[in-house]
């Protein structure tokens, strides 16, 4: 029984990453209408920038976010201007391939700069003992970060004029433009926002595991899975979806095998697409 809870506790840190990445994917899809294969690589870049801050400049882990934040803003800007804008009129399949190319490019650049050897920063160790189950501090930290990310986004979307304009543009771009919203600028803002979320995820990843150029890409499919099951473009379903998939993955991986766990997630996505394609939150699907 203890093993069961222990597995769940460890899975929580996965859930947190999925929440952040899934939210970022969903936000981008909701506003721009594409699934971005490079989203995980934005997280990788953020994590490496953080690593640079810690290992080279001497920042503390948390303080490295002061570097990550501007970096993600820049990445978001570049992504929007150099990739999204020129391909606006293209066949969506081509845009997907383009984001794939961006992912590879990013992986290559990271590898050229930092090499392929896994890198790590000094981590926060230690754990609480809750009735025989170890609850690492890092797990709690990941929950806090995920809460900040998701909570922050919900506040922005729900309570700020900017957020309102994002929601309007996501619902109906033409309609939004008709009421005077500068759709291009809102898109840009949403893209940057989604990349900043991956920055938070990058900060989290630095505590979780060793960094490789592929650390983000390896997770991105699962982030897509969470976003799809949650309902693309809707932020409401994300937490339940991340919880379900994260825990299911953890349990299956613990009791059976990691490969079967991945297959299970794949199965969950297929099931969702076949049975309830709009996901948990019931998004309007854009194909």
């Amino acid at each position: 029984m203890e093993v069961f809870f222990q597995t769940l506790v460890l899975a929580v840190s996965n859930v947190s990453v999925y929440v952040l990445l899934g939210t970022s994917v969903s936000l981008l899809f909701g506003v721009v209408g594409i699934l971005n294969f490079a989203q995980g690589d934005f997280m990788t870049v953020a994590a490496y920038v953080g690593y640079f801050g810690v290992a080279t400049i001497g920042f503390g882990w948390l303080a490295s976010f002061s570097l990550i934040l501007p970096a993600t803003v820049l990445v978001g800007l570049a992504f929007y201007l150099l990739v999204l804008r020129p391909t606006r009129k293209h066949d969506p399949a081509l845009v997907l391939v383009a984001t794939f190319g961006l992912a590879r490019l990013s992986q290559g650049i990271v590898q050229l700069i930092w090499g392929g050897v896994p890198l790590g920063i000094p981590r926060i160790n230690g754990a609480w003992n809750v009735g025989g189950v170890a609850v690492p501090y890092s797990v709690a930290i990941s929950v806090v970060l995920a809460a900040i990310g998701l909570g922050g986004l919900l506040v922005v979307l729900g309570r700020t004029p900017f957020g309102r304009e994002i929601r309007a543009t996501a619902q109906d771009r033409t309609g939004a433009a008709l009421v005077g919203i500068n759709a291009n600028r809102i898109e840009l803002g949403a893209v940057v926002l989604s990349v900043v979320l991956t920055g938070l995820a990058g900060l989290m990843i630095m505590q979780r595991e060793l960094l490789t150029p592929f650390v983000g890409f390896d997770i991105v499919l699962k982030a897509f899975a969470v976003a799809i099951v949650a309902g693309l473009g809707r932020v409401n379903g994300l937490l339940p979806a991340a919880l379900i998939l994260g825990f299911a993955e953890g349990l299956v991986a613990g009791y059976v095998s990691a490969a079967v766990a991945e297959a299970a997630i794949f199965g969950a996505v297929m099931l969702t697409l076949l049975v309830r394609p709009q996901g948990i939150a019931g998004a309007r699907l854009r194909t």
Binding site: P86, K89, H90, A93, A98, L105, S257, M270, L273, T287
Partner: protein, 341 residues
């Protein structure tokens, strides 16, 4: 001068078979020519990639569904062939047949995914390939260490000959596929799904046939690749490369064209060789791939075939009435899609 070219073009348009045969003769000539060691290696690379790209094109170009899981059929072909040789000392044809069969049968799992379209389909195929790779890492014979075996004597030219035969066969199959009822059905589904369904085209059947055919044929190339290497492990066989480079080659050359993927493969390998960074494990190949994909998809979405078509159109303007052919379908398709968006 352009009058002369119109003549040649006019003939080609009236009898596309001639173009096919000429192309196949070139492929055969290069494949069976006495090449020096270095050139041999390059042609092998080109033909493997061309095979993977042409087979991908069946699903992705003609079928209109972006598949990012082509590495699965490739790797399965390699593994099955390797296993037959390693464990059962099978003859080469048997090993290749096993590769094709396994690749085709396993891809049946993907069939339900055809309900999904566009990005969802892409994700599902990528996930599929990723899971197959993962399962291979955990459960394949010899697991991660891979299988080492002997298939061909070192100086043998047989691998390239097998690849040539496979490429010719695949091109012939694709040529006749596009002119068959199934091919027309695929084109209809690709251009306008609702209209196709309205006239009674069973899109699920069309796409299923496309998928099974593509994996079957890709298994050939994966098998020969594996046998040629004499070494197969999950990392090389199921490497993401094999999902990406065929797509790159096909888009570069022109999707939904017969020779586009072949041309794209040749150009891509040439570029890789030119910018050859001896160290294959560094970040440079990734940067190259990524940059190329970005440039091609953003600037050259119709690929070289699109450029060629424009050149031909400008030069051959006096060639006479245009008969709509499958090749043109690709241009019309992208026009339609652009008009729709």
């Amino acid at each position: 001068m352009s009058g002369q070219m119109s003549g040649v073009l006019g003939t080609l348009r009236a009898r596309p078979v001639i173009g096919l045969v000429v192309g196949l003769v070139v492929v055969a000539a290069v494949g069976f020519a006495p090449l020096d060691f270095h050139s041999y290696g390059i042609v092998v690379q080109i033909y493997v990639l061309a095979g993977a790209a042409v087979t991908w094109n069946i699903i992705g170009g003609y079928g209109g569904q972006l598949s990012l899981g082509h590495a699965a059929s490739f790797g399965l072909g390699a593994y099955a062939a390797a296993w037959m040789t390693y464990e059962h000392d099978a003859a080469v044809p048997v090993a290749i047949a096993a590769g094709m069969l396994v690749s085709c049968v396993v891809s049946i799992v993907l069939l339900p995914c055809f309900r999904a379209r566009g990005a969802y389909f892409a994700i599902l195929t990528l996930a599929f390939a990723s899971i197959v790779a993962q399962l291979a890492r955990e459960y394949a014979p010899n697991g991660n260490s891979g299988l080492i075996f002997d298939s061909f004597p070192v100086t043998s030219r047989a691998p390239l000959q097998l690849l040539t035969v496979g490429l010719i066969g695949t091109l012939v199959v694709v040529y006749f596929l596009t002119r068959s009822r199934i091919g027309k059905g695929l084109e209809a589904v690709r251009l306008d799904l609702d209209a196709a369904r309205a006239v009674g085209v069973d899109d699920f059947r069309m796409r299923s046939i496309a998928l099974l055919l593509a994996s079957l044929l890709n298994g050939w190339f994966g098998a020969v690749y594996g046998l040629n290497l004499g070494f197969v492990d999950p990392e090389t066989a199921f490497n993401l490369q094999w999902s990406i480079t065929p797509v790159l080659a096909a888009i570069l050359g022109g999707t939904a064209t017969l020779w586009g993927p072949v041309a794209g493969a040749a150009v891509w390998i040439a570029i890789s060789e030119l910018i050859s960074v001896g160290d294959l494990s560094g970040g440079a190949p990734l940067v190259l791939q990524g940059a190329a994909l970005l440039i091609i998809t953003i600037l050259l979405p119709r690929g070289l075939a699109g450029i060629a078509r424009q050149v031909v159109a400008t030069l051959g303007r006096r060639a006479g009435p245009d008969r709509a052919r499958i090749g043109d379908g690709a241009a019309e398709a992208t026009d339609l899609e652009e008009a729709k968006s």
